[in-house]
Amino acid sequence: MADTATLQYTVDDYKSSEKPTWCPGCGDFGVLNALYHAMREKNYNPKDVVLVSGIGCSSRLPFFVATYGFHGVHGRAMPIATGVKVARPDLHVLVLGGDGDAFAIGGGHFMHAARRNLNVTYVIMDNQTYGLTKGQASPTAQRGYVHKAAPQGTLEEPVNPLLLAMACGASFVARGFSGQPKDLAQLILAGIEHQGLAIIDTYSPCPTFNKVNTFKTYREEVAPLPADHDPTNFEAALKIAASSMPRYLGVIYRREGPSYEQLLEQRKTGTEADLPRLLDSLFDRFS
């Protein structure tokens, strides 16, 4: 990484030659921009970054970035990122994808990722719908949301990503909004700097299909955290996370502690060079 020491990257260095395929007005543009800026702030060398995603409009994001990327299958971004980070703790790993990817088909992995606490930043581009498949209810869709697969409105309680993350033991829980890209960039930066899994649920409207949760409604509903909010106070954070309106933006909860791959590293007692010796001792044990 010698070459990084001297280089100062610009935002353009993080842009790939592939042009975003999103609809005009899609919230995901703002998230992409915030990401470019957060990476620039860190002055990351693109070769040392891996962006992992699943399937969905939002999950296309890695193609538009000049780093390494892994556009996996639907719902499995977190397990893939886990493999990358555990295998190569030296890499900067971010996960980006949709609310469907994170909480529907990927819901089980989300829970375990939170408890595992790898040093990874997870930005969920939450448009409260399945954009790519044309607007069906995602787990965060509000009750009564009308779509083709529920013409009379969806019946389930929406998932609350913040509360869920906290219940699963996440060490960093935040909410952002694509309509406030500068704050969002700062939030992503804070997530990157957090030692452990940083979960950033980010409102990123889908103007094409979700006509009830829009830039306009979000703008009316979001609010900064109460000035006295202490994100290191679990109970206070739980209360904020559980509240539904206003939609608080910022770092709801954070807790310090070692990350999963750090703990794994601590347990390593040798390197690949020790293999011949290990094999010999194992063969002896079995003879």
């Binding site: 070459d3 280089l7 990257y9 260095d13 993080y14 790939s16 030659s17 592939e18 060398n45 693109p46 070769k47 040392d48 970054v49 891996v50 962006l51 992992v52 399937i55 890695p62 193609f63 000049a66 780093t67 390494y68 990327g69 892994f70 556009h71 996996g72 299958v73 499995r76 397990p79 893939i80 990122a81 886990t82 493999g83 990358v84 980070k85 555990v86 295998a87 190569r88 030296d90 890499l91 089980g108 992995h109 829970m111 375990h112 794994l264 347990r267 390593k268 007692t269 040798g270 390197t271 690949e272 020790d274 293999l275 011949p276 290990l278 094999l279 194992l282 063969f283 079995f286 003879s287």
Partner: protein
């Protein structure tokens, strides 16, 4: 004259020490220079229920557990009821009279040995019953005691002199009982049970197939394992969990099999040799991620310890029923290599081939073990970690010096080449940036849906698969290559086939056998010559459909004779022999 082949079975309640009795005996016997091959039939439930450990022991090499039992030790009544039918004519039954009183029978010899009585009353050491049993069996087949004493010393020496002495006492009690109450009896034909050793070469180890595969994975340089517990695969994960950190690697117990396989892909993308192991239900859950590996061209190794299906089936029972799933299970047109080792020793080497092939062809390799291979222990030659050279991926070469764009735009991760194999970059390599994806894509890895891209990249991926048989590991060959009757087989069934062929030869029936290690794609160059001059070609496998047989039938467009068993148990050598005899008779008639 002592025998060179004896089958001993220890049967009883699971948890009562069937397994520990068997294992102690086996490790001692292996050290003493006996060749051993074992099988373990666990109970259906966690605790309780009939279970047995079978040991085939002698001076020659064995390939199957043996169809019938020469020496049965029955710990209890259920064990006697369920096992005595497997005794050979003239076999020896040892039983605990406190538990069961078997009627005398002209077809066997039998002696009571008051195992629990000795342990409880004489030794005041109830837990010692198993060691008493070890002594009993050792005395019967004439094993030198010092190997067992040494073993007990190693095992219990660290726990204080009292425990060690108790165990040594139990061993002695067992040995003595046999000397004083059995061997010296008039009419006891010692030579029927005494077993000869092979020249002790001191370079053998005793391991199960799962252990051999784990050792092989370590040898291959695996650095990452993710898995989810499942019978009979869990002990691969458990083995590696203990050992991988010693060489800088990591094991993750994932939340399920879907996560496991995707974690493996992440680790492989990041540049490490990575694997998982599971059994059928887990493989079913992994096929989507395996498809991603085909499309994104990521090397990975999956060990499938097959068990009896379908569905949850019989988790502790044997079947070779996952071949179709391994080769064809996936939506769209996937590329995978399927390998199957034929013996415990082979597990060690085939998994190394699996890693090599995965890296060379950048696709998933599935290694099919089966319950018999996974759980049985064998004494095998000490493995040679040098035998199979490690192949590396075709790696992207980072440009030297400066002047390289700090970002992507140039690297052709999926470059169209003659071989279909493209150089692969790993994160951290300058100028190698790309996005791995399950979408159809162009040379740069960008999603493209036009007809030409789809056609050319489908051909690219299948070009690799078509080339793979050139690197197929050598098959096993058995019997007489020039025979008119041939048997094709795979996996652990190869052992029984080999013995059946040897027995047929003793009857004057010439048979040729072949067990390819690569099952898919079909290694035509290895198998086609085998068909030449054959009047009858059988395919023997433990499943209902004849899964490999049908693959070959489709491949060659010719019918083959299916020989199948699907009882949740390995083939009996005698059933294979019967199939051979039938084929031989049909030939005789035809002439």
């Amino acid at each position: 004259m002592p025998k060179n082949d004896l089958v001993i079975r220890v049967a009883g309640e699971a948890g009562e020490g069937v397994l520990s009795t068997g294992q102690l005996l086996v490790q001692g016997a292996a050290r003493a220079g006996y060749r051993v091959l074992t099988d373990f039939s666990p109970p259906a439930e966690i605790k309780g229920g009939y279970s047995f450990f079978q040991i085939r022991i002698g001076s020659r090499l064995f390939y199957s557990r043996g169809d019938s039992v020469d020496l049965l030790l029955a710990f209890n009544r259920e064990a006697y009821d369920l096992s005595s039918g497997d005794l050979t004519e003239g076999g020896l039954l040892i039983y605990d009279p406190a538990e069961v009183s078997p009627p005398a029978s002209p077809t066997r010899t039998q002696y009571p040995v008051p195992l629990s009585e000795i342990a409880r009353t004489q030794l005041k050491f109830e837990l010692g019953k198993n060691v008493v049993a070890v002594g009993v069996l050792a005395a019967l087949f004439g094993m030198p005691e010092e190997y067992l004493r040494k073993l007990l010393e190693q095992r219990f020496g660290g726990r204080g002199p009292d425990i060690l002495n108790k165990n040594l006492g139990a061993l002695e009690a067992g040995l003595r009982y046999v000397r004083e109450h059995i061997i010296n009896q008039p009419g006891f034909r010692r030579e029927l049970f005494e077993v000869e050793r092979s020249p002790a070469d001191g370079r053998r180890i005793v391991v199960s197939g799962n252990q051999a595969a784990s050792l092989g994975a370590l040898t291959a340089g695996v650095q990452f394992f993710a898995g989810y517990p499942i019978t009979p695969a869990s002990d691969i994960m458990e083995f590696l969990a203990a050992e991988l950190p010693k060489v800088g690697g990591a094991v993750i117990q994932a939340e399920d099999e879907i996560a496991s396989m995707n974690m493996v892909l992440g680790a492989s993308f990041a540049g490490k040799r990575a694997m998982t192991s599971t059994s059928g239900p887990g493989v079913s859950l992994m096929v989507e991620a395996l498809g991603l590996a085909s499309m994104a061209e990521l090397p990975c190794v999956l060990v499938d310890c097959q068990r009896a299906g379908p569905s949850t089936g019989m988790p502790t029972r044997h079947e070779q029923g996952d071949l179709w799933l391994a080769a064809f299970g996936g939506h769209g047109e996937i590329q995978r290599i399927v390998l199957a080792p034929t013996s415990v020793e082979d597990c060690y080497y085939q998994i190394q081939h699996a890693f090599n092939l995965a890296d060379k062809y950048q696709l998933p390799v599935i290694l099919l073990l089966d319950t018999v291979l996974s759980v049985r222990t064998e004494s095998i030659p000490r493995p040679d970690p040098q035998r199979i050279p490690r192949w590396s991926r075709l790696l992207y070469q980072e440009p030297n010096g400066q002047g390289v764009p700090p970002h992507e735009g140039i690297f052709l991760r999926y470059q169209l080449t003659d071989s279909g194999i493209s150089p692969m970059s790993i994160p951290g390599q300058r100028g190698g940036q790309y996005v791995a994806t399950g979408l159809e894509h162009n040379e740069e890895g960008r999603p493209r849906y036009d007809a030409e891209t789809k056609t050319r990249f489908t051909e690219k991926r299948f070009k690799k698969l078509a080339a793979a048989p050139q690197d197929a590991p050598e098959p096993d060959f058995y019997g007489d290559a020039s025979a008119e009757i041939g048997i094709i087989t795979w996996g652990s069934t190869a052992g029984a086939v080999r013995e059946a062929i040897e027995r047929a030869a003793e009857e004057g029936i010439r048979v040729a056998g072949i067990a390819p290690k690569m099952l898919w794609p079909v290694p035509d160059a290895q198998l086609r010559p085998f068909l030449e001059g054959k009047r009858e070609v059988m395919v023997a496998e433990v499943n209902y459909n004849g899964q490999f047989a049908r693959i070959l039938e489709a491949h060659w467009g010719r019918p083959l004779r299916h020989v199948n068993a699907y009882a949740g148990e390995p083939f009996k050598v005698r059933d294979l022999l019967a199939a051979i005899r039938t084929a031989a008779r049909a030939g005789a008639v035809a002439r």
